[in-house]
């Protein structure tokens, strides 16, 4: 079965990038601006109460780079950086946030982020990798059209599982947007589906209780299987090699027997609530009704907490997938989380709204400069870039937006495209970005690897070539352009001097012109290999 799936995928052709145009927005959303102010009020009060002095506000350059990496998944181009840094309007930051949220790159970046959350199996098991084809294009559509988060979740939870589902995965319409791959990745097993939906949609880690009542957590085995029972009507067939395809569904099954035991558990919600069964509504519909209800105690909070963690590196509750009942659960600001969750639900679970509000807060826009602990978001943290963020930023910095291809089949062709090759070597990280560590292989790849070498080579790099050939540019402007391209900011006086003297030494060399060209390329290389480039800060 494995080989069949691989061979099947290998005959498919490169899927063109889906760049659905999003409706342009006119400017900042006043409700989001108001919510940003409430975030700052809540944090201000908490800082005062605990005698915490917040860090300074971020400079425009710092903010610019951070907000691009967080909302577009890459750094800004030189032109984008220049435009923003020249903007003097007082609401320029709010405007940039609103603008970024309406771009296709937002949908693209969010697809990477949420697919990794919803379907981590596709990164860890090649048999599932091809499921991302339909799933990613479905996700991208949701974000591009800004579909409510409740509707997204409901579609995942209730998508019809029938013969057509199978055709969609193996048939000619494999590229058609559909969340159906989710069920294949979870091997159509009620326990996997329960664990996955609890972790992402509810922020609960119930699976520790799968085998027995866990000594560290408050969840019981019956609670876990009570949730799994909503999926009990699904059945799949292992075609050999561990690839399970859904067969049929008994839509109204409401109980499940715990494997290896005599015990049968009735469907029940983790908060102890008894399901109200409606006429003709299937079990999964009943679960989706409860989960996406505005009054659900977990759903909106889990989503908002993830958005917060996306923008700060740490959630308002940690761990983000164990928001209640865990031995190590830490709640940093419960009231703020509740307020954000309520606003999110009141705005019909509009993710762009919540991103806009949090990114618009003063807290998000604090500097990352400073030492020691930064309690309660009183300073931004250094966050490591994912492989995708790093590659896409390299492509932008080195003037190669054409390599931003997004070939979902790349993996089957031995990752032959530049992005796939880079990601295979660099690794697709899924750990906490604030706990980022760099490996030797990653350092070697960035220092000596083919992609960076080509991109920083005086005769191979387009950006560098253009820079070197512009005769009207003073050396100072060249250095500024290199700083803008890589670090999205102007160099300081000292940096300018250092770079200038580094390049200036070339004048004494025998082949002054060649040496000077190399020295400029080396400045470029050095900034790409700097710590500042490697982090979102």
């Amino acid at each position: 079965m494995l080989r069949m799936a691989l061979a099947w995928a290998a005959v498919l052709v490169w899927m063109p990038r889906m760049e659905a145009a999003a409706p342009a927005r006119s400017g900042p959303n006043p409700d989001a601006v108001a919510l940003a102010a409430r975030i700052d009020k809540a944090l201000d009060a908490a800082w005062k109460a605990r005698k915490i002095t917040p860090a300074e506000p971020a400079t425009d350059g710092e903010f610019l780079r951070r907000v691009y990496l967080d909302l577009a998944g890459r750094i800004p181009t030189v032109a984008e950086a220049r435009t923003f840094l020249a903007d003097t309007r007082p609401d320029r930051r709010q405007r940039l946030i609103a603008d970024l949220l309406s771009r296709a790159s937002y949908a693209r970046h969010m697809t990477t982020v949420w697919r990794r959350l919803l379907m981590p199996e596709a990164d860890s098991n090649i048999q599932f990798a091809f499921l991302t084809v339909g799933f990613d294009s479905w996700l991208r559509k949701q974000f591009a059209e800004n579909i409510g988060y409740d509707k997204m979740a409901r579609e995942i939870l209730t998508v019809a599982i029938d013969q057509r589902a199978q055709q969609q995965i193996f048939g000619n319409d494999i590229t058609k947007p559909t969340p159906i791959g989710y069920y294949f990745a979870k091997e159509v097993k009620p326990e996997n589906l329960a664990a996955g939906s609890a972790r992402v949609f509810l922020g609960l880690r119930l699976e520790c209780a799968q085998c027995h009542d866990h000594p560290f957590a408050s969840w019981t085995r019956d609670q876990f299987w009570g949730l799994a029972a909503f999926y009990a009507g699904l059945s799949g067939r292992d075609n050999g090699g561990g690839f399970v395809t859904p067969e049929r569904e008994v839509g109204d099954r409401r109980e499940i027997s715990i494997p290896g035991t005599e015990r049968v558990v009735q469907a029940s919600f983790p908060d102890g609530g008894e399901p109200v069964w409606k006429f003709k509504a299937g079990s999964r519909q009943t679960l989706a009704d409860w989960m996406t209800d505005k009054k659900n105690p977990y759903f909106a909070r889990a989503a908002v907490n993830r958005v917060w963690a996306h923008l700060f590196g740490i959630g308002l509750v940690e761990p983000v997938d164990e928001m209640a009942g865990g031995q190590d659960t830490k709640v940093y600001h419960a009231e703020l989380l509740d307020e954000l969750a309520k606003a999110f639900a009141d705005h019909n679970f509009d993710l762009r709204f919540i991103f806009e509000a949090i990114a618009g807060s003063k807290a998000y826009q604090l500097t990352s400069r400073g030492a020691g602990p930064a309690p309660l978001y009183s300073r931004q943290l250094l966050r490591g870039l994912t492989g995708e963020q790093l590659f896409d930023s390299l492509a932008v910095a080195t003037g190669q937006p054409n390599v931003l291809g997004d070939d979902p089949f790349a993996i089957y062709f031995g990752n032959q495209d530049a992005r796939g090759q880079f990601l295979t070597k660099y690794g697709r990280q899924s750990g906490k970005p604030s706990d980022h560590e760099t490996s030797i292989i990653q350092a070697l790849l960035l220092m000596n690897g083919e992609f960076v070498d080509g991109a920083t080579h005086p005769s191979k790099s387009e950006l560098l070539g253009a820079l070197l050939e512009a005769p009207f540019l003073a050396e100072k402007s060249r250095i500024e352009a290199i700083y803008l391209a890589t670090l999205s900011r102007m160099p300081t006086e000292r940096e300018l001097e250092k770079a200038d003297s580094f390049i200036g030494r070339a004048a004494a060399a025998t082949d002054a012109q060649q040496t000077r060209t190399e020295a400029i390329a080396d400045v470029f290389w050095a900034l790409i290999n700097s710590t500042e480039f490697a982090f979102n800060h």
Binding site: L6, Q327, D328, L444, E518, V523
Partner: protein, 449 residues
């Protein structure tokens, strides 16, 4: 042979002291290593059989039975121990082998099985566990080492990258990978390509960048970086700088000559076998010699065998296994011989395993399918009492008859054999300390020397 029997060379003083002051965790490592430095360094070589090797056709032959197939058994140096006819050379080293015929596990899918065998944990939970190479390598690592503490030769990671990763230990303990395999790579490269594949990638400066220029631009980077690092002190930046430092040490390192197999005689290279696995085993010896504590070499293809998951013999099992063993037998036996001749076999533990075994029943395509219920692994060399068989399966091979061994038991045995405590704890970054091996593990006492 012009090899200089040095242990790890020391870093230049400056780099070493910079590294040690980096942060607390580095300092702890340094202390731990200094305390243990009186003992000869221990090492482990994992021979990973990708795809799940057939126990019936390797170490648990059942000739003359329906399930046994056409494979014959042969005598070994140890009276009473018989293995498959494919291992005439390895049979001479049976006094150093402990054959475990009673592995009994529950994961019969490549991805899940690989995760279970390689981390000792059931896949699927929220914790990302480190692979055995990373957690053993970390414990045996020395802070003055130029080479990384775990090297992975020719891995095929696509089916489950997490099974090969450092998990919560972080990239600092990620394996240095050479000759990465994938389904489109040529599993049977020619001799020249093998030499190239077995080198560390991106280790050399790009063409056109002189050594002098390399040093100068790195120095400029460090200077340009200093302001940012001063403004953002902490673990994240330190880790980044440490990785660059270690990468640069590796670039200049003499120890990296380990990857230059041309230093070996043709006769010895021929004996290992002029294929990726054979030369990979030779590389493993060279790395162990230079103090790398954990090396794994993957066998996933052989001439005429699908490259990638070669042991996944759903069809034509007997021919495929024969071809794979024709690569395995000379490589493994020469490795034992070579380590022994250099006095390294007593401090180097070898473990042979795949993600599961194969069905005793032969299917209609003369193949064997996935089977986790009763299968074999082998421990050998340092810390292992050889010349014995642990456990037994029933005559039809379908059940473990005696002394079932679970994965944590196997890994705990390995960990003890290299002189470590399986119950040692690591911080997991999720708050709970986590032991090297599941606390339920019972090491196989009778095989520990």
């Amino acid at each position: 042979m012009s090899f200089e029997p040095s242990r790890r060379a020391f870093l230049r003083t400056g780099a070493a002291s910079a590294a040690v002051t980096m942060s607390g965790w580095f300092g702890n490592l340094a202390r731990a290593a200094t305390q243990g430095s009186a003992k000869p360094p221990r090492a482990c070589i994992l021979l990973w059989m990708n795809g799940g090797p057939s126990q019936m056709d390797t170490f648990d032959p059942k000739p003359g039975t329906d399930n046994g197939g056409p494979i014959k058994g042969i005598d070994t140096r140890t009276p009473g121990i018989r293995i498959a006819e494919h291992f005439p050379k390895l049979a001479h080293f049976s006094d150093r082998l402990a054959i475990i015929r009673s592995m009994s596990t529950k994961e019969a899918d490549h991805s899940r099985g690989a995760y279970l065998l390689r981390t000792g944990r059931v896949p699927g939970g929220p914790v990302r566990y480190p692979g055995v190479g990373s957690f053993v390598g970390k414990e045996l690592d020395q802070p003055d080492a130029e080479l990384p503490c775990v090297v992975s030769v020719a891995p095929f990671r696509l089916l489950n990258p997490d099974a090969y990763g450092p998990g919560f230990l972080g990239p600092r303990f990620a394996p240095l990978v050479v000759a990465e395999n994938n389904i489109y790579a040529n599993g049977n490269p020619n001799a020249q390509d093998i030499d190239k594949m077995l080198k560390v990638q991106d280790l050399d400066l790009p063409a056109g960048v002189s050594a002098n220029r390399g040093v100068e631009r790195a120095a400029f980077r460090d200077e340009a970086d200093s302001e940012f690092l001063a403004d953002h002190p902490g673990r994240a930046g330190d880790s980044h700088r440490t990785a660059y430092r270690r990468a640069e040490v590796l670039m200049r390192s003499k120890a990296v000559k380990a990857f230059d197999l041309n230093e070996e005689t043709d006769a010895l290279r021929d004996k290992y076998g002029r294929n990726l696995f054979g030369q990979g085993c030779l590389l493993a010896r060279r790395l162990v010699e230079r103090g790398v504590p954990f090396v794994e070499v993957t066998l996933s293809s052989a001439p005429g065998v699908f490259g990638g998951i070669g042991w996944d013999t759903h069809g034509e099992n007997f021919e495929q296994v024969k071809k794979l063993c024709a690569v395995l037998d000379p490589a493994w036996s020469t490795l034992m011989d070579d380590l022994s001749a250099r006095g390294l076999l007593d401090t180097t533990t070898i473990i042979w395993m795949g993600e599961f075994g194969r069905t005793p029943r032969i299917n209609q395509s003369k193949g064997r399918d996935h089977w986790a219920n009763s299968w074999s692994t082998v421990l050998a060399g340092g810390g292992i009492k050889g010349g014995q068989v642990v456990g037994a399966t029933t005559a039809d091979g379908m059940q473990v008859k005696d002394r079932p061994v679970a994965v944590p038991d196997l890994l705990a045995t390995l960990v003890k054999a290299v002189g470590l405590d399986p119950m040692k704890q690591n911080d997991s970054l999720i708050g709970r300390p986590i032991r090297l091996v599941e606390p339920t593990a019972a090491p196989i006492k009778e095989v520990l020397a």
